[in-house]
């Protein structure tokens, strides 16, 4: 006998989204979360009184409006707010200000290179065109390339039509784009080193690739295809931190009758006769359900909470070899005041938004070299934001918190496992990099949380601390995500599904994986679909 219609393992934002849609369709759903808090990597945590860190993901752009609107997340307390102005710091005194206003940005680029100022228009136009096509695939289940089912064929036809509509030249460009490095891609547009470095940086965030590695240009696109209210490429903050997103979706789960249990880690998925029938919790409790959905990454799902003998041949190996390399660290810092940066004017629209400690393509590549050798760079690439300057709810008034995303940080060190001392030394490399551009920064520090892949994996369960639940390389994208033959959210065991970022369309706080998986589940159950179409089809 089943206790529930469906169990969702993991209360990350995709698991919650999945549960919300299943509950909305009338299913009796329970979400099981190992931690005492929900949200997974979309979480706000008060580790120092008065400060709320978005301790993992920290900015938001990919959250699909269609889902935000459909689940009425606004009513559940979610509001996404913009932050303005980004400064990219060169290796030396060079600064690149990315203003909110097009004219201002143009004038700023002119200062660096009239050529690049001009080329930026072409770059933005091309990127928008590329991302428009990808965006159309987001809220659709990828077709199986070998399937002759009408649904798959129709979907292929749809995609072919979209692709063909680009025209011959653009199709070539597009294919090239997917296999190029970010640096090569940018070479075609820009001449200024800092401009190139600044534009390339989204190509390495979260990935174990360098700016010169083939495939990094797609990562770049993945980071700019989101939008804030139709402004493609824009990033915003969730008021109250990223946890506000998870809390709002959890509100929608509960409103539709779903249940969320924390401190309920799953030990094992129960399989009987090649069918998933429930789970056993770490405390030994058994919960049975007609359907089991895993929001864990593919590697963790198949190598950690499933019995190898329950899986068809080859799946365990595929999961074991799933590319999910940890490459990033995160340093969250509570500050007693707003840091001041050298060479940055006292303009509130530019001096407290985002900071890209970008250096140059070379600096970024050298940092990648260190990662390859199982270490971290003394001169890391750091992408920072000061959310408290734009969100009054995340730090005491007049004090601040700074989110620092660090590329690169290895999951395992060449000289043995991570220790608290090594973690702190890694944190120090970030502080001293910032201090270089903000003398006195160190004195502002009230509290600090340093997160290496080790912490990220152990706290929120992302294998190797990979923020995307698996590399976003072409071999692991679209119908190949997580592995060929399993690109439609259904898993090798009957009645079992996946809904995390290991599935199409991949990482990011988008809610799409969870929503798409729900659509497939409801299709299998012959229930009325509750998952919306994307709002942006008329772009």
């Amino acid at each position: 006998m089943s206790n529930y219609d469906a169990i969702v393992i993991g209360a990350g934002h995709n698991g919650l989204t999945n549960a919300a849609y299943l509950a909305k369709a009338g299913l009796d759903v329970v979400v099981l979360e190992k931690n005492e808090y929900i949200g997974g990597a979309a979480v706000s945590r008060e580790l120092q009184e008065g400060w709320k860190y978005s301790s993992c993901s920290y900015v938001c752009s990919m959250m699909r409006q269609a889902i935000h609107r459909d689940l009425d997340l606004g009513r559940h307390g979610l509001i996404l707010v913009p932050y303005l102005g980004t400064v990219n710091f060169g290796d030396g005194d060079e600064r690149l200000f990315q203003y909110h206003d097009e004219e201002a940005s143009h004038l700023e680029l002119m200062r660096h290179s009239p050529h690049d100022a001009d080329a930026m228009h072409r770059f933005q136009t091309d990127l928008t065109r590329y991302s428009q096509l990808i965006r159309k695939t987001l809220m659709r289940t990828p077709p199986e390339p070998t399937s002759l089912r009408p649904r798959d064929l129709m979907e292929f036809l749809y995609l072919a039509r979209q692709f063909w509509s680009l025209g011959e030249k653009e199709i070539y460009e597009y294919v090239r784009f997917f296999t190029m490095s970010a640096a090569e891609f940018l070479e075609d547009y820009f001449e200024n080193d800092l401009v190139k470095a600044a534009m390339a940086s989204p190509g390495i965030i979260g990935t174990a690739l360098g700016v010169y590695s083939p495939g990094s240009s797609y990562i770049l696109l993945h980071h700019v295809m989101g939008d804030v209210d139709g402004s493609i490429g824009a990033w915003g903050l969730a008021r109250g931190g990223m946890g506000a997103i998870s809390d709002a979706i959890a509100g929608a789960v509960k409103e539709n009758g779903g249940e969320i249990r924390t401190n309920a880690g799953v030990q094992q998925v129960l399989v009987e006769g090649r069918k998933a029938v429930g789970v056993v919790l770490e405390n030994g409790d058994e919960i049975r359900a007609d359907i089991v959905v895993s929001n864990l990454d593919a590697k963790r799902t198949f190598t950690r909470i499933m019995d190898r003998n329950d899986l068809p041949d080859g799946i365990y190996e595929k999961a074991k070899n799933f590319k999910i390399r940890g490459s990033s660290g995160k340093v969250n810092i509570a500050l007693s005041g707003l840091p001041k940066f050298t060479g940055v004017p006292d303009n509130p629209y530019i001096n407290r938004g985002g900071q890209g400690f970008t250096g140059s393509l070379e600096t970024m590549e050298r940092a990648y070299d260190c990662w390859k050798h199982g270490g971290w760079s003394d001169d890391p690439f750091v992408e920072s934001v000061i959310p408290s300057a734009w969100d009054p709810t995340v730090a005491p008034t007049g004090q601040h918190w700074m989110s620092n995303f660090v590329q690169y940080c290895p999951p395992e060190l060449a000289d043995g496992p991570w220790t608290p001392e090594k973690r702190d030394a890694f944190g120090e490399s970030v502080i001293s990099k910032i201090e270089r551009y903000s003398p006195g920064f160190r004195d502002l520090i009230v509290h600090m949380e340093v997160r290496t892949p080790h912490e990220i994996e152990n706290e929120i369960g992302l294998t190797e601390g990979n923020i995307f639940q698996g590399e976003l390389t072409i071999d692991q994208l679209f119908f190949n995500r997580p592995f060929p033959g399993y690109g439609q959210y259904r898993m090798p065991v009957k009645n079992m599904y996946m809904c995390g970022s290991s599935t199409h369309p991949g990482g990011g706080v988008s809610s799409v994986c969870g929503a798409n998986a729900a659509r497939e589940i409801l299709l299998d159950l012959r229930r009325t679909n509750t998952v919306p179409e994307d709002d942006f089809y008329d772009e």
């Binding site: 409006q65 609107r69 606004g74 707010v81 909110h100 206003d101 209210d229 009054p392 008034t397 008329d538």
Partner: protein
Amino acid sequence: MTDRFAGERLKLSPFYPREEALNIREAWSSWNGYKFAEYYYDPEFEYFCVRNLCATYDITPMQKYEIRGRDAEAMLNRMVTRDVSKIGMNRVAYCLWCTDEGRMIDDGTIFKLADDRFMLTCGSPCTAWLRKSAFGFEDVTVTDITDDLAALSLQGPTSCATLKRMGLDGIDTAKPFDIMHFPYHGDTLMVSRTGFTGDLGYELWIEPGLGLQMWDDLYAAGEDCGIQPYGEAATNMARLESAFIMPAMEFNEALRTVNLDHDQTPFELSLGWLVDFRKPHFSGRAALLEHKKRGPKYTLTKLDIEGNRPAEGAFIYSNKRCTREIGYVTSAMWSPAVKANIALAMIKTEHLDGELWAEIHYEKELRQYHRVAKCTRKKKPFWAPDRARATPPPDS
């Protein structure tokens, strides 16, 4: 050198020196003869300051009238449709007034400052109508104090925190529509918990000579609360989310309406709750009774529209084929806070409960497109956070 164009230059608000420095986009328009910011930096950002931090809006150009005398209350009570005798001391009430035909002239707020002293504020100049309304009353004087009172609206979730940091002790005890007075540099700073954004907010009223001082004090206090000036563009976004009506958008002022029937009754604007038939005679009473009995021809309706294309200027139809026209959109936008495509529309009352479709025209890279989108009626304002009503309000 004399200014050859002096006669047609716009007036400058007492806050202008600060506004000029902050309007780095040079985005100016005008309001009631004052030079007035359309926006300062970016309309959408300023809108978000109202929803997320706090922001100031210069309401000096709003028309302000002092109505004094033993008959002040009676005079106002005969002019507006709401019962002025019910307004408490140091309270504000939202009111509207109509022609004898029951068509709306304007809306505004009445501040009761003493038994014989009121302030009326409204969007358009109203001197002539006020004088007409005072006819027959013995002890009432109407003075236009627009230029004698600087006013700044401070709106947003950190607005109360900002005022507390400015030293306005006790401001957190002010309930919505309360008025408080604070001694300020030898004068008085009047603060009302009012605004046009549907959010937590206050309006600050000060002698013009102290305007800049107040601006500086406010901005010093608000610096860590994210204070930012905002203009007309952000105001229009915020008010639409709160479903507040705007002249020349939702209603055509009756005294400026050429074609009879192009103006509106309060019932058509869903403002029937502001018309109090239990009180003695007031302008338009008989006609309004008749309007109420017949029911409004059109009804101002809140719409949630599918898709993300704002339905600006769209017609509303009762069928998807768009052959039966039943109304028109008055204001429309994509709401960034609510994440919905919202609009206010005038729809023929008899069709309200049926299907509603909007034919939306939009442009992409100069090419014109149109689509038909399903509309859903909303009963409540699109945006109405709890903090707007909470006393004491939260700090953020």
